[in-house]
C-alpha cells in the first residue's frame, strides 16, 4: 500500500510507504487521480472524515502499490471528490491549527491502514515502510 499525502505526520509515521506531496490537498487528489489512470487502485475514500474539503489543508489517500486493471469505481470516487473540492466554498486556512488537522488526518489514515492489516498484530504506526509493502 502507498499513502499519498501532504501531511508531515503521515510521512513521519509511514516512511517510505508515503509519497509526500509538497502542495495543497487538491494536489494530493489530482496526483492520486493520475495514479488511478495508470492502474493503481484506490484503497481509502478520498473524502475521509467529516472535516470539509475547504476546512483542512491536509489530505492523505491510500492506493495500491501494484498496478492492475483500470478500476472505474476508484476513478468515479476520485472525480467526485475533486469536484467537491472545486465546487464547495473556499476559505483561508488557519495556520496554527495545522497540527490538529494533521493529527486528525493521521488518525483517519491509520484507521484505513489498520483495516488493511487487521488480520495482523498491528496496532500502532511505526516508521519504516517494510510492513506496508503489499
Amino acid at each position: 500500500m502507498l499513502i499519498v499525502s501532504n501531511n508531515p505526520m503521515v510521512e513521519a509515521a509511514f516512511g517510505d510507504s508515503c509519497v509526500f506531496i509538497d502542495g495543497r490537498a487538491l494536489d494530493v487528489l489530482i496526483y492520486v487521480r493520475d495514479m488511478l489512470h495508470k492502474g493503481h487502485k484506490l484503497l481509502s475514500h478520498p473524502l475521509a472524515g467529516s472535516v470539509k474539503p475547504y476546512e483542512s489543508p491536509i489530505r492523505s489517500v491510500c492506493v495500491s502499490k501494484d498496478k492492475g486493471a483500470y478500476d472505474m469505481q476508484s476513478i468515479l470516487l476520485m472525480e467526485n471528490a475533486i469536484d467537491r473540492y472545486k465546487t464547495l466554498p473556499q476559505r483561508n486556512f488557519i495556520e496554527n491549527h495545522n497540527e490538529d488537522f494533521q493529527l486528525i488526518d493521521l488518525s483517519l489514515i491509520q484507521s484505513a491502514v489498520e483495516s488493511r492489516f487487521q488480520d495482523r498484530d498491528y496496532l500502532t504506526t511505526q516508521s519504516g515502510g517494510a510492513m506496508y509493502e503489499t
Binding site: 475514500h45 472535516v51 470539509k52 466554498p89 483561508n92 490538529d100 486528525i104 488518525s107 483517519l108
Partner: protein, 426 residues
C-alpha cells in the same frame, strides 16, 4: 424485548447544596458532581453552567449532548460496556429526566465542534435550545493528548448524565411509554398482513473525533448487526464523534432516535417494525463494500419489504449511503434515505458526493452551507475563540457589533440525518 420509558418532565435546573429533583426542577450540587467527575485523573478542573430555553446564552464549542436516564428494572445499566458492565439492556424500565440534558464543551482540537444558542435565530436550528442544559466545561491536565482528551470529555459527559439520571430512580414518572420489540417470527405472526419494515442506522466510524461505540466497541471494528431499538434507548450506542456539528448524532439523539420512535408510532397499524440494523462508515473502501454487502444480506435474509436508511456525517459516508441504498434496493426492498446537503452557500453546487439512480426517495435535513447571522449573546459558555474556525465558521466572521456569521453546519444538530429536526431543502 419490552421496555418502559418513564418520563419525569424537567423544565428548570438550579444549583443547590445537594442534588435532587423536586417538581419539575432539577437541583444539582456542583460539589457532588465534581467529586464524581474528578475521579478521572486526566481532568484538572471542571466547571458548570446552566443554560435554559430563552436565555441569551451561547454554548460553544459543544462536544456531546446526553440525556440523563437510569435503569430501574431489567438487566444491565446505563451505557453498557462503557459505564456499566457489559450486559444486554433494552428490557424492563428506564426513567428519563425529560427536558434535561448534559452538554459537554471544551477545546480538543483547534477547530470543529458546535454552537447551541438558547434564543434568537440560531435557536430555531438546534433541538438543544429547547432542553434545560447542564453544561460541563472540562479542563484537562497538561500533557493530556487529543485521544485521551476526547475520551476524558466523552466519559465525563456520560458520568454526569448517569449521575443525574440516578436522581430519577425512585421518582414516579408522569407518563410511561411502552416499547415492545418482538422476535421476528412472533412479530410476523402477530402482523401477518403488514409490510415488514427495517431501519438501517449508519454510524460514523473513521478515527479520532469520528467514532461511535456500540456496547463499548469501536464501531469501525464491527460488521453490521441486528440490535433492538430498545437497547439503543438504554444507551447501547454512544457518540465519540465531534466533527460536523450539524449532522453528527450526539448521544442524546442515539438515545432518542426519532426514526425508531416514528416507526414505533405506526407499528402494528401501517407497518411491522421488525428489524434495526447498525452498520458503519469506514475510511477503507473494502470495508465500505463489505459492510454494505452484509447490510443488504441481512435485509434480504429477513425478507423486509421496506427500509429507512440514515446517514451520519459529510462526504465519504455518501458513498456508504448509496452502496447501502443500491444493494438493498437490488433485493427488491423499497428504500427511503435520510441525508443532508452541502450545496454551497448559494445552493447551486452538487449536494452530495455520490449518487445512485436507486435513491429515488430521499429526505433531506437541509443545506448545511447556508449562512446564518447570529446575534451577540449576553453570556457565552465555553469560548467563542473557535467560532471563526469551527466547521462552517470562517475567518473574519465576527462583526464589530458582536454578531457572527456561520454556516448552518456550525450549529449542533441543525441538519440532522436521522430526521431529528424540521429543516429541509428544495
Amino acid at each position: 424485548m419490552k421496555l418502559e420509558l418513564g418520563y419525569i418532565p424537567i423544565t428548570n435546573i438550579e444549583f443547590a447544596e445537594r442534588s435532587y429533583v423536586e417538581g419539575s426542577t432539577l437541583y444539582v450540587s456542583k460539589e457532588e458532581l465534581s467529586d464524581v467527575l474528578l475521579q478521572d485523573e486526566n481532568i484538572s478542573s471542571v466547571s458548570f453552567a446552566i443554560a435554559l430555553p430563552g436565555d441569551k446564552t451561547r454554548i460553544t464549542p459543544v462536544k456531546d449532548v446526553i440525556e440523563p436516564r437510569v435503569k430501574v428494572e431489567g438487566k444491565g445499566g446505563m451505557f453498557p460496556g462503557v459505564l456499566s458492565k457489559v450486559d444486554i439492556v433494552g428490557s424492563g424500565r428506564t426513567h428519563v429526566l425529560k427536558g434535561a440534558a448534559v452538554v459537554t464543551t471544551g477545546k480538543i482540537v483547534g477547530f470543529q465542534e458546535g454552537i447551541i444558542d438558547m434564543s434568537g435565530p440560531g435557536a430555531e436550528y438546534t433541538p438543544f435550545s429547547k432542553t434545560c442544559n447542564l453544561v460541563l466545561v472540562i479542563t484537562p491536565k497538561e500533557g493530556v493528548v487529543q485521544h485521551e482528551h476526547e475520551h476524558t470529555v466523552r466519559m465525563a459527559g456520560l458520568r454526569a448524565a448517569a449521575y443525574l439520571g440516578e436522581l430519577a430512580r425512585e421518582l414516579e414518572p408522569e407518563t410511561i411509554e411502552t416499547y415492545e420489540f418482538l422476535p421476528l417470527l412472533e412479530s410476523i405472526e402477530r402482523y401477518p398482513d403488514l409490510p415488514r419494515v427495517g431501519y438501517v442506522k449508519m454510524l460514523q466510524s473513521q478515527g479520532l473525533l469520528h467514532d461511535t461505540y456500540v456496547y463499548g466497541v469501536d464501531a469501525k471494528r464491527t460488521l453490521p448487526t441486528l440490535i433492538s431499538p430498545t437497547e439503543v434507548m438504554d444507551g447501547a450506542i454512544i457518540s465519540g464523534n465531534c466533527v460536523s456539528a450539524c449532522d453528527k448524532n450526539p448521544t442524546y439523539v442515539h438515545q432518542n432516535n426519532p426514526i425508531v420512535h416514528d416507526l414505533f408510532k405506526r407499528h402494528g397499524k401501517d407497518l411491522n417494525f421488525c428489524a434495526m440494523i447498525i452498520t458503519n462508515e469506514n475510511v477503507y473502501l473494502a470495508d465500505k463494500i463489505r459492510s454494505s454487502d452484509r447490510t443488504a444480506e441481512i435485509c434480504g435474509y429477513l425478507k423486509l419489504d421496506g427500509v429507512i436508511i440514515s446517514e451520519e456525517g459529510f462526504g465519504n459516508p455518501d458513498t456508504d449511503l448509496m452502496m447501502n441504498c443500491r444493494k438493498i434496493s437490488d433485493k427488491g426492498i423499497k428504500t427511503v434515505v435520510i441525508t443532508d446537503e452541502y450545496a454551497g452557500r448559494d445552493g447551486s453546487s452538487q449536494s452530495l458526493a455520490d449518487a445512485d439512480p436507486s435513491c429515488d426517495a430521499l429526505v433531506t435535513g437541509g443545506n448545511a452551507n447556508e449562512v446564518i447571522t447570529l446575534p451577540k449573546m449576553d453570556k457565552v459558555i465555553g469560548t467563542e475563540a473557535y467560532v471563526g474556525i469551527i466547521a462552517g465558521g470562517w475567518d473574519k466572521n465576527k462583526a464589530e457589533d458582536g454578531t457572527i456569521q456561520v454556516e448552518l453546519q456550525a450549529i449542533t444538530g441543525a441538519t440532522s440525518e436521522v430526521g431529528f429536526g424540521y429543516l429541509s431543502a428544495r
